[in-house]
Symmetry: C2
Subunit: 362 residues, 2 copies
């Protein structure tokens, strides 16, 4: 099959022939239909997120099951599926405690001495995020997949595989935003726009989008933001505090920079909640006002992949899309064939795209 | 009446005659029976917590109602009461939302142009924390008081007025610790020891006390800690992580220094919760590991006075004392007459006392 192989940090992916193994007992072979291009892929390509090389990137896929191992129970050939990096064992303390996104049992899913699932002329190719979606086929554990209804376009719902689930989950699972609440969303890329949509769906009162790029603020308004603050013009904290009479109930941080995390704390009202979604680089500290957190009794919630239980969440999000409440079409800036995957990375680097999707021929 | 007047930062309190007004319609005159000496009093005395001067300090009192204003409904003369600085209006959004500790309506309780409740030969004396407990009488709003059962010694349950309610509330209200959970408590003064007791009462599995003073760790063990780590000998994080197989479910920070807040984050396991109780000095940042919070999905809870609803909480805590579950006697290092209040501050400064209580003649 064809796959986009990354061999060296910083160099373009190369479309090459890759061999994929046969399904082990609990594995599933999926024909990839579409895969979103996400910032985490870019981080690996740029070297800021370490990953074994060579590898095939891509972790926001949808597809169709082609073959299953002997012990697979969740899907059968022909099923439509979304893949998620939050593969779960189902038996560790986090899984049984309702937090499978924090699963500690992934080593029981694939041992270090098992044969590589992808290879090229005998050379192993590392599977990125247990998925490697920038290839025509994915060979994954059944617990990295969820079956979805077959009547939705796979190149749209692929976005649910990572960014949308992170954003909606931050609202529904992590923060549990209540109707009428005021919120701010810092950073209006794929995740922030999904947070905006989640807040709209959850009935939030005022939704203040914060970004430095005018077209992203416009898109946020189109997707549900009631107000916008351009942080390129001024520190957004005073504006947000003023327009929400003392600060927001919830501030979502979707960039992962220390400065914006601090802004999120500052723009939250007494008793308010800050949701940290953006991954602050390893080893980087965020400097937070200690007295503000204690005396004004603020809550800071770390949010890993939208606190997802993706087997439960994703079919609901697909339903929200079918109902017209979750708008995916508007979030897709470009559809590209695998051969043009490097163009998608370039758009991400330049900040000219909300979301690009690699679409495979069926 | 006699009161301990503070006129100048850093100078000993002076026992002087102070005039107290008659109760306004919703006010209560309380004969002070006992008042604990708390770190916040010391902070004012040392100038690190600003307060109008002259003032009468003291905010951890118990006493007996002597007279009530015409509109008072909660208490009657003869009732035993505990006073709390978390005076609440009962009508603002925080009060009606179940968080009266964050009440924003205190300006409706006492306007700025009302006559002073305490004075000395015509000179107003500021009421500290709406209480001024280091005096023979307190004239306070009824919503700064809770009626308690009369069959408990007031010099013991006075501690419930601030430190104990902060510590127990951090466990029961803020964190809602579940039975079996593992916890660490950083700082074993009056608040930290109350956290230890709260965790024991809530059925926590392992309770690791962390302090730099050996006798405080011994007292913590006596009050319920299952393990102790002396942070004077080494960074406590590796010890706590090792003895709890990856970190605690809950880390309570009861000192309010940036270094110990950071330790609290670091010693918490994946998915764990940090409770910030200690008031970090105004303008001081805490430097926290951003990726650890997001990727390991940690929660940080600011805790203002134990997230108390003191009218509900304190009678329960008195019952816990009566049942022998909450141990107050062991927390009291010294009982002193008002004339020796400066000795109590000296003990606090030197760290030689868990809690000193000023006891008034009845």
């Amino acid at each position: 099959m064809k796959g986009a192989v990354m061999r060296t940090i910083g160099e373009p992916l190369r479309i090459e022939q890759v061999q994929v193994d046969a399904p082990a007992p609990r594995e599933v072979l999926v024909r990839t239909a579409a895969a979103g291009v996400c910032h985490s892929d870019l981080h690996v390509l740029q070297g800021s997120l370490p990953s074994p090389l060579p590898t095939v990137l891509g972790h926001e896929p949808a597809g169709v099951v082609e073959a299953v191992g002997s012990e697979v129970r969740h899907v059968a050939p022909g099923d439509h599926v979304i893949g998620c990096l939050s593969v779960f064992c189902g038996t560790c303390e986090y899984c049984v405690g309702g937090r499978p996104n924090l699963c500690e049992g992934t080593t029981t899913i694939r041992g270090p001495d098992e044969p590589p699932r992808l290879a090229q002329d005998g050379e192993p190719i590392a599977q990125f995020a247990h998925l490697s979606a920038f290839a025509e086929r994915m060979l994954v554990h059944e617990n990295a997949l969820v079956r979805i209804r077959p009547d939705v376009p796979l190149d749209r719902v692929a976005l649910i595989g990572c960014g949308v689930t992170t954003g909606l989950g931050a609202v529904f699972n992590t923060a549990r935003v209540r109707a009428g609440a005021t919120v701010a969303v810092i950073g209006c890329g794929g995740i922030g726009l999904s947070v905006v949509q989640g807040c709209r769906i959850a009935g939030a009162g005022r939704i203040v989008a914060v970004d430095t790029v005018a077209w992203k603020l416009e898109l946020a308004a189109h997707l549900g933001a009631t107000d916008g603050v351009n942080a390129a013009e001024a520190n957004p904290v005073p504006s947000v505090v003023e327009m929400t009479a003392g600060g927001v109930d919830y501030a979502f941080e979707a960039l992962g920079t220390p400065a914006t995390v601090r802004q999120a704390v500052r723009m939250t009202r007494k008793g308010g909640t800050i949701v940290m979604i953006g991954v602050v680089p390893m080893g980087t500290n965020v400097e937070l006002p200690g007295a503000d957190i204690v005396l004004r009794e603020k809550t800071i919630l770390g949010c890993m992949m939208g606190s997802n239980r993706f087997r439960v969440d994703m079919p609901r999000y697909v339903d929200l899309y079918r109902k017209g409440l979750l708008r995916l079409d508007e979030m897709i800036s470009a559809r590209l064939p695998l051969e043009r995957v490097n163009d998608a990375f370039e758009a991400l680097r330049r900040g000219t795209a909300a979301r690009s999707v690699v679409v495979f021929e069926s």
